[in-house]
Symmetry: C2
Amino acid sequence: MNLKQLAHMLALSQTTVSRALNGYPEVNEETRRRVMDAAKRHGYRPNPSARRLATGKTGMIGYVLPTGAAVDIDPHFVEFLSGLGDYARSHELDLVLSPADADDQETTYRRIVANRQVDAVYISSPRPADRRVALVNTLGIPFIVHGRSEGFDFDYAFTDIDNEGAFHEAARLLIQLGHRRLALINGDDRETFAIHRERGVRRALAASGLTLGERHVCSVAMTEENGYRATRRLLEEGDAPTAIACSSLIMALGVVRAVRDLGLSIPADVSLIAHDDVFPWLRPENFSVPLSTTRSSIRLAGARVAERLAARISGLEEGARGEVWPVDLVVRGSVAGAPA
Amino acid sequence: MNLKQLAHMLALSQTTVSRALNGYPEVNEETRRRVMDAAKRHGYRPNPSARRLATGKTGMIGYVLPTGAAVDIDPHFVEFLSGLGDYARSHELDLVLSPADADDQETTYRRIVANRQVDAVYISSPRPADRRVALVNTLGIPFIVHGRSEGFDFDYAFTDIDNEGAFHEAARLLIQLGHRRLALINGDDRETFAIHRERGVRRALAASGLTLGERHVCSVAMTEENGYRATRRLLEEGDAPTAIACSSLIMALGVVRAVRDLGLSIPADVSLIAHDDVFPWLRPENFSVPLSTTRSSIRLAGARVAERLAARISGLEEGARGEVWPVDLVVRGSVAGAPA
DNA sequence: AGAGTCTTCCAAAGCGCTTTGGCTTTTTTG
DNA sequence: CAAAAAAGCCAAAGCGCTTTGGAAGACTCT
C-alpha cells in the first residue's frame, strides 16, 4: 500500500493525502480525518527510502564503531546504549552503527555524512583535539560529544560528567583521612576523561602540598587483569601508596584481588575508591568490602545524548552548549584512615 | 556530484555509467575504465537513498534492541557486536539497531521489514517457539538466529554453541571427581541456552543415576549479585551441593565471593565450573582460584553471524542450515575431588 | 455585484538511482 | 555478401515520496 494507491482509493491527490498525513495546515479537517482513518485502516506506512530521497531526513542517528581484531569495545558502551536506545525508541529513532577501522574513523564519518545516512551523530571517548570532533564540526551535521575534547578554536555541544571534580573530591577525602601517598589507576590517558581525573587527583594533592608520584599513576586498558597488575606493582615497590583511586569498577576487581593476594586488606592497609558507571551486573556495594565510589550513571548519559540529538535534529536545540554533570561521591567501607 | 552530472561530464548516458560502475557486462572495457576513473577522481558516491529506492537493497543489517527502563542489555552483547562489526566493516555493511519495547519486538520487526530498512536481520537470545523467529520467517527477510529456538514446524538458519554438550561435559567431569550433589546457577530459563545447559547437566547426572535436586537449580539474571545470592542459598541450606556449574563469569564472581564469605574455599569445599564467553576484561584464569570453564568466544559467533548474513544477502547461502559449535572445557584450579 | 481573499485541493516536477526495451554498429556465420 | 548475432550504448520509465505553483470555489468586503 503506497501513497498513490491510498490517494486513488480516497479519490484525492497524492499531494493532499501527503499533506493530511504530515500535518500541513492547508487541508480540511474533515478530509484529514478521512485520510488519517483510511491510512490507519489499511496500515499505510510511508516508504522511508522514498521519503528520505525526497526530504533528506532519515530518522536515524549514527555512531561510528571502532572495530578491528585487536579492538575491544568498551563494556560501558552497552550501558550507554541502553539509555540511548530507551530514549530513541520513544522518538522513533533508529541507531546505525557504522563499523570502521579504529585507526581511520574519519573516512567513515565522511561517508555517512556525504551519503546523508543519518540525521545526526554522536562521538564517544573523545581525546584532546579529537580529529573526529573537528571533522564532524566542519561537516556540519548535528552532533553531540559524549565526554569532552579540548584545544579547539571552536565550541561544540557535549554532555560530560565532572571527572576532574569527582576525582578531586575522592582524593580530597583520602587526604583528609590522613593518606599521603595516593595512587591512580587510570584508563587510557590519551582520552580526555582520564586526563581530567588525573588532574583532579593532582589538584587535591597539591592543595595539601602533596604530589602524585610518577610511579603512582598508571594508564591502562580497563580490565580486571590490568587492575591486578597495576596494584601488584604499586604495592610491591617501595614507597607503596596507602590509598588508590581507580577509574573503573572492573579494574577495581583486580585491585581487590591483588591486595588480597599480597596478604593485605582493604581498608586497613589500603583505601580504595573507584569510579562507578552504574552497571546492573556489578555493584560496588557488593564487593567483599563495599566499595566507595564516584558514581555517575552512564545510562542516563546515553538517554540524555539521545534527547539532545533528537532536539538538534528537530531544530529545538542549537548552539554549542556543553553540559557537565556533577558526580556523586559515595562513601562505603573501602576507605579508612591511613595506617600508622 | 551525482550520476547525471558524471554522465554528462563523460558524454555518456546515465544508463551506461550506472552499468559500468555496477559491473554489468554490456559495456566496453575501455569505457568502463574511463567511467571508473572519472568516478574515483571526482569522488562520486552513489546516493544510497536513491539506490535503495530503486533496488530495495540497503547495505544494512538490522537488530531489534529490546529496551525499557527495567531492561538491561546483556554485557555479552558488546562482545558479540565486536565480532559482528569487525566482519561487517570488511563488507561495507552497517548495522541498524531499532530500539523496541522489550515486550513487543514484533511490531518493530514488522516495521523494519515492511519499510525495507535492512537487507537482513539477526535474532539473539531466542526462546523456545520464539515468536520473533516465527514472525521473521514468515516475513521472508533473510535472517540468522544466534542461538536456537525450538518447537517449530519449519527449519531456519542459526548459529549456536553446544550448550547442552558443554554442560554435560562439565557435569560429567564433576561427577567423575566424585561429586554427587551438583547445583546449577543458570541464566533466564525461558531462554533456550539455559534450557539446554540444564538438560546437559541432568543428562550427565542421570547417566550416573543421579539427579539435579529441585532446589539445586536456579534461574536468574546474570549479575554478580544474583550469583552471590544463589550461592548463599545453596550452601546454607541442608543438602548443600559440593559442586556448582554456573552460566556466566559475572555470576561466578558472586559465587566466589559467597563461598569466601561462608568461610569455605574453592575447590576444597566447592568445585566450580562456569561458562566463559571470553571477555577481554574478565578472564577466568585470573580469578583468585583459576576458574574452570566451558569456553566459547561470543565474539567469533558475532563475526560468523555477520558472515552468514552477508552471504544470505548476496544469495550465496540459502536453506535453513543450522550450525552448532563445540565448546571447549578448560580445566583449571577451581575443580577438585569431592570433599569426604 | 464585482474585486479581493481564503480555503482546499491538484497536476506535475523533482529527489538520484536502476532497469527495461530499443536502436545502432560491429562482428560472426552460412 | 547478405543475414543473423553480438556488442555497446541510450532514452525513458519507474521506485514512492515531498513540494512547488497554480486553480477552482467559497467567502468577505465595499
